[in-house]
Amino acid sequence: MPGIIDWINKYSHWLVLLFLEGISLVLLISFNGYQGSVWFSGANSAAGIVQQWQQEALAYLHLGSVNKELTDRNIELERELEVLRNELHELTHDSTYTERALAAKLAQLPVLPACVVGNSIAMRDNYVIIDKGAGDGVSPKMGVVCGTGVVGIVSQVTDHYAVVMSVLNGKSSISCRLRGSNYFGYLHWQGGNLLCATLDDVPRHAVVKVGDAVETSGFSNVFPPGIFVGRVIKVRDSKDGLSYQLVVHLSSDLANIRDVAVILNNDDTDIIP
């Protein structure tokens, strides 16, 4: 306390100066219109700057909660977007494209409907026997399809029956391509899963992704181009590493086929038994 009094005594003239100058400034600002307006505009500017600093500092301190809110909001919007995307997909996606394309393709071809009377699936080399033969215009190396895709190629014929080397035959090799590109390979069945085959010799520079559609290439007249075969479910390197080997999920369940159609043509290429 004595220290404070000493300090006040020592600097009393400064305190008096500040006091009197304060009074002068109050008078100046209060009773002079111009100085008052300058003061208040300057004070407003200064207060605005200080408040801006304060707001920025507070905003910085609250960045954590803001970030959390934004993250929550982002998650919510992502979910909403996913729902809307699914709805849009359901409303606009034409899931029957493949079937329609296949039907349209077959409608343009001279085909002979037939029924499956024999079908093996347990062998390494499986065959399908149909009730149409040479007497109906069927000849070897004609393609056979069903409503969902490729079945195989006619191997042998009798007057009323034909033996079809199905896709599930180790000797079958059908030229196929990736839909939307000209990269092609040969469809082989490796045994095992009845719904999986491989598309070999696809060049490594081909852009392939899971889900791509595989269809016949049309490099021969056995199968016209564009007949759906299946979809890529896995992309892997071939054994020699020089190409891709695509695992294809076959669209045709050959273990459960009844009605097929023979594509009537006289060319004898494509099959490599």
Binding site: L20, I23, L27, L28, F31, Y34, V38, W39
Partner: protein
């Protein structure tokens, strides 16, 4: 003591009357007006109270402001000038000078007195015009008025001092 107070009050009212009745009506070149309020504290003795001098000039400034319609301008400028005066005299006058000595040309010498007067007048005028303008951006516009007023005030102060000195001689 009472005599001193009356004397100081007389000086204050004399200075205020001169400023309000005479100097406020001198307006050379549209802006140069002598500011002579500082005379109220110019000749107070060396040993006079610093705080008392500030209060005296403050009151003088208030009176001038009241009659000049410039509330706070003269009071603020003159109070600060009185504050500076103390340090200025400390620098100019030796410590063994008598406390009742009046800082005039006879006591300080002509050149030192002129410096004392010029510095105090400069401080007073700068503060006065700055408070009047209340913004630094107008300083260049005010400079001719400031210099004109300063020159006039200095001239009048020197004339008064010359009159005082010749009267005392």
């Amino acid at each position: 003591m009472i005599q001193i107070l009356f004397r100081r009050a007389g000086i204050v009212f004399l200075v205020a009357a001169l400023q309000v009745l005479v100097f406020n009506h001198i307006n050379l070149w549209g802006c140069a007006m002598p500011l002579m309020g500082i005379l109220a504290v110019l000749y107070t003795p060396l040993g006079s109270s610093r705080i008392g001098n500030m209060c005296l000039t403050f009151v003088t400034g208030l009176i001038l402001d009241a009659f000049s319609n410039t509330p706070g301008v003269a009071a603020g400028a003159m109070t600060a000038t009185a504050f500076v005066r103390h340090y200025l005299l400390q620098a100019m006058v030796s410590k063994d000078a008598p406390v009742d000595a009046v800082p005039d040309a006879w006591m300080l010498g002509r050149y030192r007195y002129f410096s004392y007067l010029a510095i105090l007048m400069a401080v007073h005028h700068c503060l006065y015009f700055l408070l009047e303008a209340f913004a630094f951006r107008y300083v260049t516009d005010l400079l001719p008025c400031l210099l004109g007023s300063y020159a006039l005030s200095l001239l009048i102060s020197l004339s008064i001092e010359l009159f005082r000195t010749s009267g005392s001689e």
